[in-house]
């Protein structure tokens, strides 16, 4: 469903992604781990189409289409969802209205009828129960004054409402208490079908006890330097990233042609 080939991206002239290769098949869950500043959020934002980043090389195919060629809203309408590491506040815009507008855009793109306010209320209530959020949040402005954890739950709520084919979660577990962690995991697992996939960016092995990944990748210096099964996450938790850094450097030294 998603095939990233040799993806390079820059921000303000600095190259952040330096040749990412990643393939996600339908139904798979991929975890991405890596030190701070290694490019995980950049990858997530590039996939979602943030125009602060410029793709300088490489391709991304999504459901046999050129993802990079699509406007961000079209990517969203075609089922790409990003749960933001830092969700944005939109003062004065009621959360329920915001969500319903987004959902109707997605539904239109899928060829479905728009949902009216009445049916939407029923739907949103069910989804809010799922993420254990109080209904009073619907009347509040999008993310305004939400606590860190509330913002993250709100992201999961939106994901549950929009039912994406490819969900990208950028550190949705950071800053969450144990209960919230379980809630977020529930949200993801609920969506998980043989067709739907997820890319989960996290620093903590803990989340992966709830959301069991098919693959774990280590992103470092703008490249995926190691991939493995879920046991790789345990290893990272034990040993940190230094050993990978060293092994990668050693490998690079031996394969580097002279003079380069």
């Amino acid at each position: 469903m998603l095939k990233i080939t040799n993806l390079h991206a820059t921000v303000e002239g600095t190259e952040i992604l330096k040749g990412i290769n990643l393939e996600v098949a339908p139904g798979e869950i991929h975890a991405i781990m890596g030190p701070n500043g290694s490019g995980k959020s950049t990858l997530a934002q590039v996939l979602a189409g943030h125009d602060a980043f410029t793709v300088t090389e490489g391709t991304v195919r999504y459901e046999n289409e050129d993802l990079l060629d699509m406007a961000p809203e079209d990517r969203a309408r075609k089922g790409v969802f990003l749960a933001f590491q830092y969700p944005v506040e939109i003062p004065g815009v009621n959360s329920a209205y915001f969500l319903r507008t987004g959902l109707n855009e997605v539904r239109k793109a899928r060829g479905e009828e728009e949902i009216d306010a009445y049916d939407f209320l029923a739907l949103i209530r069910a989804k809010m129960a799922l993420v254990e959020m109080d209904e009073s949040f619907l009347k509040r402005s999008v993310n305004e004054g939400f606590s860190g954890g509330e913002k993250k739950r709100h992201e999961v709520l939106q994901m549950a409402v929009l039912e994406p084919r490819l969900a990208i979660l950028d550190e949705t577990d950071s800053g969450l208490d144990i209960d919230a962690l379980r809630v977020v995991a529930n949200g993801v697992n609920q969506l998980h079908t043989p067709q739907n996939s997820a890319i989960v960016v996290t620093h903590y092995q803990r989340l992966l006890e709830y959301i069991v990944p098919d693959y774990v990748h280590v992103l470092m210096g703008g490249r995926i330097v190691r991939s493995g099964g879920k046991e790789l996450a345990l290893q990272l938790e034990d040993r940190g990233y230094d050993w990978i850094r060293e092994e990668t450097a050693a490998a690079a030294a031996t394969t580097q042609p002279a003079g380069a």
């Binding site: 002239g13 189409g49 980043f53 969203a76 933001f84 944005v88 004065g92 915001f98 959902l103 855009e105």
Partner: protein, 499 residues
Amino acid sequence: MTEPAATPAPEAALSDTEVLEQFAQRDYKEGFYTDVESDSAPPGLSEETIAFISKKKQEPAWLLEWRLKAYHTWLKMEDPTQRPAPEQWAMVHYPKIDYQAISYFSAPKKVSLDSLDQVDPEILATYNKLGIPLEEQKMLSGVAVDAVFDSVSVATTFKDKLAEVGIIFGSFSDAVKQHPELVRKYLGSVVPTGDNYYAALNSAVFTDGSFVYIPEGVRCPMELSTYFRINAANTGQFERTLIVADKGSYVSYLEGCTAPMRDENQLHAAVVELVALEDAKIKYSTIQNWYPGNKEGVGGIYNFVTKRGACRGDRSKISWTQVETGSAITWKYPSCILQGDDSVGEFYSVAVTSGRQQADTGTKMIHLGRNTKSTVISKGISAMNGQNVYRGAVQMQKRATGSRNFTQCDSMLIGDQCGAHTFPYITVRNPSSTVEHEASTSKIGEDQIFYCNQRGLSTEDAVSMIVNGFCKEVLKELPMEFAVEATKLLGISLEGSVG
């Protein structure tokens, strides 16, 4: 010479600024012209012009005298915007206006206040096109409309129905004939003829506008509304509105305005006077959508307006709500004089400046009575090269003990070529009054737009949603019938500045 950019990132460079810029290229769908036979005064301003207008309107002698007195006052006044820069107080810039090049009267030939059958069908079609049908079978329910076309009122709907409860609503010219004692008593009592340059000019040459009188204890059963349309070229529009709410009465009034697109600037200098007696309440809303000129700043209306309300009686209340999206230049400060004890003044404003538009707007709250209260909520939105100024005066006079003011002034910037400025003028002459002022400036974030995009919203819908969210506290003050229109208009007036 400019150096080549360090990062050849064409898409990224385009997207942020350009995308935002496109946002301000609006379509002005009200910009059409109606070809009607009309009766116009030749350009020029003199005692003869004024006598001509007065005669056309079959006015009594006292009114002609009143006009001439205003004219002589005006002649002695100095055009405030032609002063050398340091003495100029309003932050608006425009070339000197040639007052002799303007025509001060233009009226379609075929109009009749008695029957729509005698009104030029082109005019009726114009109002239909603007979404304000005047024919009985199509009239907007719950809203009585006075339609002013250039210098005259062409029709007033629901007039008879309102007369049943004693409400007088119709053209100003008509009121001069039918209710001269009321007009004479209140005309110029809130905005004196020599109040300022444009008010003096208006007093000399005003043509038409609406007159409203709500009798004691009557709650007006429907929204009253005046729709101003400038059609003729090279004509100024100088309308005069007077609303008197007698003891314990209530009225909600709304004005809307549009004009054809032209490369020449046109002058609109109106005066609005409101009088609220004991326990009376007046709610005055404006949706101002005059032609703003094109992106380069060619054409558009100069909107120089004096609006003031007097809360004469105890416990009276005047509330101004304005959504200002049009005009090349807007210069207006709807104000409240809080004379009665416990009287209340409110000002809710959204002003959008895009393209090369300039707005210098705000309010004056003059507290004279005891325990008076005023609230000011101003939202300025600037896009492209738009310049938005909030200028607000709050005065607590000696007798106004125990009075309170709260002012909140928020500015939103779209792109980085525009500007927002806030000038509060606060005077407190008694120790028991409080004045609070809050101000904020925010930039519409690329991140906010991207967040909305990521949920499936187009950029235009996103901006419209963000802007409407920003203006929410003001929009909720509009009568329901017009809130939807204002929301749409905000979207349209910023259309194209984010693509």
